[in-house]
């Protein structure tokens, strides 16, 4: 008997050993090489590494924590700066195939990225950080780029009803905050840009102390450290984003004439919270609330507006945080045949207020909460976790916030309870600023 059992014992011991070894290796990997890591003594305002497994590709982002909302004067100049800085550093030269790049401008930040093989990491970072170098382009080239901006303006706005509507609403709902400024500028404003003004704004904003480097790839921290420029560490505190102040309470109605538009309504409201909430937690709670409101379950809006009555033939709803104290909701809806935009607005407000007053029923919350696992990555999938965290780091840095690590992100899920969700929903009843736009042939087709 003793002898007979021995192979099983050996097998069990082997399995136990390899299991423990594997688990230890797994834990060791996370302990020694976290998915998200901030490198100390960075030559930029910060340097973040997001470790993605099993890829030869590496992408480096340089995010300037300054955007349109930090400016005064004619809007859109920072977008012009972005074009020129990218051309100055990257865009005007031929690159090897497989090395991709682009740039973007937004309200709170301006970003540049360059990707390639991980063996070229040092060269990628060196090339990318040239966007901080003084702009040295021929004046006629910079003037031509101003014309390119006008072409981009036409591309993004001339043929896009939704973009024009969003722009008009942004101006109203965010006033008097600088967040209301249009990132692309205006057509006459762009035409009047002087290259010298862009060069000066670049020199003022594109500085190491304003720049955050984010590197995404399967590389160890020591390799990234070795690839960084040999410059003194930045010690200055990062520039905080411009504070958001709730505009005049009440409702503004817009009638936007779009002759080719399928008539619809866009309804937006911003409210202040009684207590601040951490941004990522707030974002997750609002995403869950959005999913609930989107359903035809009791407490959702699809029941009263789409299925029990024919009010809206289609709608889209989004909720998101502006900062730790302010949240926004946007409801876009297309009316059913014979329903005016005004009637649709009333029906929506009645349904929304009814559910906000009553709160989300427990059964509805439980069902949608169960589905909400898709909001997070599959925590057992290392690659999916890394991709999700890369997006989180880019988003957080672009919003001038601090990224969380994996464990803190995972912990957020435990705080998505019904009380918190209903509290958030109820906050939308507390006044705030509302802008309602009717879009259609006559501005008010209803």
């Amino acid at each position: 008997m003793k002898i007979d059992r021995k192979p099983w014992r050996i097998a069990v011991l082997l399995i136990a050993f390899f299991g423990v070894a594997g688990f230890s290796a797994f834990m060791f990997q996370f302990r020694e090489a976290p998915v998200v890591e901030s490198l100390p003594d960075s030559p930029f305002a910060a340097t973040w590494l997001v470790r993605t497994p099993d890829t030869d590709r590496v992408t480096a982002h340089l995010i300037i924590q300054s955007g349109e909302a930090d400016r005064t004067g004619p809007p859109g100049l920072m977008h012009y700066v972005e074009h020129l800085a990218w051309m100055n550093a990257i865009g005007s030269e031929s690159r090897p195939e497989g090395r991709d790049t682009n740039a973007w401008a937004a309200s709170l930040a301006t970003g540049y990225w360059l990707s390639g093989d991980r063996s070229d990491l040092a060269e990628l970072i060196s090339t990318l950080t040239r966007v901080l170098d003084p702009i040295d382009l021929p004046r006629d080239f910079m003037e031509e780029e101003r014309d390119i901006l006008l072409r981009e303006y036409d591309l993004r706005l001339a043929g896009r009803i939704d973009a024009r509507v969003a722009r008009a609403l942004r101006r109203e709902i965010y006033a008097p905050n600088p967040h209301a400024r249009p990132v692309l500028g205006t057509r006459p404003g762009i035409a009047a840009f002087e290259p010298e003004d862009a060069v000066a704004l670049h020199a003022q904003t594109h500085r190491r102390e304003n720049a955050v480097l984010v590197v995404i790839g399967d590389i160890p921290a020591r390799d990234l450290r070795a690839a960084l420029p040999d410059l003194p560490a930045i010690t200055a505190a990062p520039l905080p984003p411009p504070p958001f102040v709730l505009g005049p309470a009440g409702e503004t109605r817009l009638r936007l004439r779009e002759p080719d538009a399928d008539a619809h309504m866009v309804w937006r409201r911003i409210v202040a919270l009684e207590e601040p909430q951490q941004m990522d937690l707030l974002g997750a709670r609002l995403a869950l609330l959005r999913d609930i409101l989107d359903t035809s379950l009791p407490g959702g809006l699809a029941g009263p507006l789409r299925f029990e009555s024919f009010i809206t033939r289609a709608f889209d709803i989004e909720l998101w945080p502006l900062d730790e104290r302010h949240v926004e909701i946007r409801f876009t809806a297309w009316p059913d045949e014979g329903v005016s935009l005004e009637r649709m607005r009333r029906a929506f407000e009645e349904a929304f207020e009814a559910t906000a007053r009553a709160g989300i029923p427990e059964e509805t919350f439980a069902r949608v909460r169960e589905r909400f696992e898709h909001f997070w990555p599959d925590w057992s999938d290392e690659g999916e976790v890394a991709d999700w965290m890369a997006g989180h780091v880019i988003d957080a840095v672009s919003a001038r916030g601090a990224p969380l690590d994996v464990e803190r992100i995972r912990a957020l899920d435990r705080e998505l309870d019904l009380t918190a969700i209903n509290s958030l929903l109820g906050s939308y009843l507390r006044g705030g600023r509302t802008v309602v736009a009717f879009v259609g042939k006559q501005g008010d087709p209803g």
Partner: protein, 455 residues
């Protein structure tokens, strides 16, 4: 002891075998006689079933071409026997399942059902009810028809789309296929009746699909049962497809005058061989090199050098599975339309003659990564296999794409450009501009249908 050691070794070998078993493709037949392809994807928690029903309605006169578009939405949203509208979406969400039904150019209606393996049976029961006995309720029909009409009208008003509508007039003339693709005959959507949709449903959604693919970690026995359950109760009817359409690719230069347009758009369009013929992978590499980013030939010609546009791209599209097109397109400043036309034509001619050049391995890299990852995405890999099946490829094309890509070399790219791609002078040019004189010598029209008469 020896026997137990043997059992232990067998278990460990089996476990090792499980780890090494990769995706595999086989041709199968279900117990009810449905031929299908099984993509066995070990370890994948989801199962996706894709079905392609053939149709030739787009080629026929006397049938309303809006019926398939309204029909698929009505089946998905309007409820079914035992499933009131609004309930299915919530139940599917609980099951972590999703379904779609769409018109795939002119030749097929494609249905896709995806669910966790454990929830597949219930998802199939619900999907079968919607395919077999959709509500087709009059009120829901009118709601979806009205919404579809408004969406189409908004889309048709966009200058770029108006240009492509004119192009279809030039290439297809007054054939039913053109009307089906453009949906611009006056009142065509408004005149659609619920009876039209019922007739379409009866004719197309049958137990005689052209192709079926099941993808997931399930064996042929389970997959066959799933296929039979999904198609149970559908009529076992079918019809011979008559898909005759003539395309006139005579090169022409056409300008659609839109005085109210804020800017101009310029497109070059020409025919490509269908995807059932070799060369599809070469096309993907070539179209990226020609117009896929700031290092592409067209971007350099129009933005970097001519400085006349924000960008100029290239793409592939299908009118039908047989009529495939290459389109080069961009938004340009009206006063430089003629300059851009010359620059694009010259750049394209050079590209066709000399090929993409550069590091081919680097050009392949993003495609290779996407192809290698394909088996991890159950919907995408099933869709790729379904398209391969419709193009006549053997089972497993979706899994063999990395090898297909590997076989592409500079010679095959050059041959593809030489033999498959149209010459620069054979492209049709279509511009939409607020300035009628922006393209000297072009056939100037004021409405898309006038393009049919352009010489």
């Amino acid at each position: 002891m020896i026997r137990r050691l043997a059992i232990l070794l067998a278990m460990l070998t089996a476990l090792a075998g499980c780890r090494n078993d990769g995706p595999a493709a086989t041709a199968e037949t279900s117990p009810a006689g449905h031929a299908y392809r099984l993509l066995f994807l070990p370890g994948n928690e989801d199962v996706s079933i894709h079905v392609a029903w053939p149709t030739d309605r787009a080629y026929r006169a006397g049938v309303n071409p809006a019926a398939p578009h309204v029909g698929v939405d009505l089946i998905l949203a309007g409820g079914a026997e035992g499933y009131p509208a609004g309930e299915t979406g919530e139940r599917f969400a609980d099951l972590d399942a999703e379904a779609s039904l769409y018109v795939a150019v002119a030749d097929h209606v494609i249905g896709e059902l995806t669910a966790k393996k454990a929830n597949l049976d219930e998802a199939i029961v619900i999907a079968n009810a919607h395919l077999r006995a959709p509500g087709l309720d009059q009120a829901w029909f009118e709601r979806i028809r009205g919404g579809f009409a408004k969406t189409v009208a908004e889309s048709q008003a966009q200058p770029l789309n108006a240009g492509f509508a004119a192009l279809r007039w030039a290439v297809l003339g007054d054939q039913p296929l053109r009307a089906a693709l453009s949906l611009d005959e006056p009142g065509v959507i408004e005149s659609l009746t619920a009876a039209d949709v019922k007739a379409w449903h009866k004719e197309v959604i049958t137990a005689r699909p052209e192709a079926i693919v099941v993808a997931g970690a399930l064996d042929a026995r389970a997959a066959g049962a799933a296929v039979d359950a999904l198609l149970a109760g559908l009529p076992a009817t079918g019809r011979e497809m008559a898909r005759a359409a003539q395309a006139d690719w005579t090169p022409r230069r056409i300008l659609l005058h839109r005085p109210e347009a804020d800017t101009a758009t310029l497109s070059f369009v020409g025919p490509l061989p269908p995807t059932r013929a070799p060369g599809e992978i070469e096309d993907l590499i070539l179209v990226g090199a020609l117009g896929g980013g700031d290092q592409s030939v067209l971007f350099k010609a129009v933005r970097t050098e001519l400085r006349a546009s924000y960008g100029f791209g290239a793409g592939l599209a299908n009118y039908t599975r047989e009529l495939r097109v290459l389109a080069l397109s961009g938004q340009v400043v009206p006063e430089r339309l003629a300059d851009v036309e010359r620059a694009v034509r010259k750049a394209y001619a050079g590209f066709r003659a000399e090929g993409p050049g550069g590091d081919l391995a680097a050009r392949k890299a993003p495609l290779l990564e996407a192809f290698r990852q394909l088996p991890e995405f159950v919907i995408d890999v099933a869709n790729a296999e379904l398209q391969g099946r419709l193009d006549g490829y053997n089972p497993g094309r979706a899994l063999a794409l990395p090898e297909e890509l590997e076989a592409v070399d500079a010679d095959s790219l050059a041959q593809r450009l030489r033999e498959g791609w149209p010459s620069a002078d054979d492209l049709i040019v279509i511009a939409v501009s607020p300035d009628a004189d922006a393209l000297p010598g072009a056939c100037v029209i004021t409405a898309p249908e006038q393009a049919a008469d352009c010489p």
